[in-house]
Symmetry: C2
Subunit: 121 residues, 2 copies
């Protein structure tokens, strides 16, 4: 069973929609990097049982993304905010070269600070 | 049964996670503004059955927001983007008054355009 790195991202976004058991299995497998056999030994079920449970939970995460598109939208917002930060830096540099307006300088700092705080959420 | 206007917003975000039947009921009730009795007549079940189904679907929507917080996050991003647009407008006005830099003017247009496109998604 190949590990799907995209699952880690989906787990961040949709993990709270899974059952505690499902979250536990995926956490062992993806975040703590345990093998199927190690997880089976930890939770006291068969390796095949763990495998099936993980597969099912993965399918649910993928289906939630297909329905809600939260990760896709989040990545678009991230990309836009990074571009806004870049534009604000260039305004700031241009202002230092030519206009030397204190107000423009303050406003570019404000734009960068808002864009950064939205990226970090 | 009081109509909860917040449900319309939650329906936009999480409607795809409900069953087609649940979406149909909530659509009749919230978007098309039919009464419980009218919906009951349309779908051929009792008024109480419609009422219960709507209540259950509403609870599911509210629970999804409690788990994923998509609407809360979306509103925060909207607010930040509106403030970025305002800052860009003020940079543009200040630049027209003092610096007259073509590059700063272009960059403020770019920031506003990115922020607007992210708001509209």
């Amino acid at each position: 069973m190949a590990k799907n790195l995209e699952i880690t991202v989906l787990l961040d976004f949709y993990g709270d929609m899974l059952t505690p058991k499902q979250r536990e299995f995926l956490d062992y497998y993806y975040n703590q990097d345990l093998s199927l056999s190690e997880i089976a030994a930890n939770v006291g079920i068969t390796r095949q049982g763990v495998r099936d449970a993980i597969k099912r939970a993965e399918c649910q995460l993928i289906e939630m993304e297909e329905r809600l598109g939260l990760v896709r939208r989040f990545k678009e917002v991230e990309k836009g905010l990074a571009e806004i930060i870049d534009c604000a830096s260039r305004i700031s540099a241009e202002n230092r070269k030519t206009g030397l307006s204190r107000e423009i300088s303050d406003l570019t700092v404000r734009i960068k600070s808002i864009a950064l705080s939205l990226s970090e959420e």
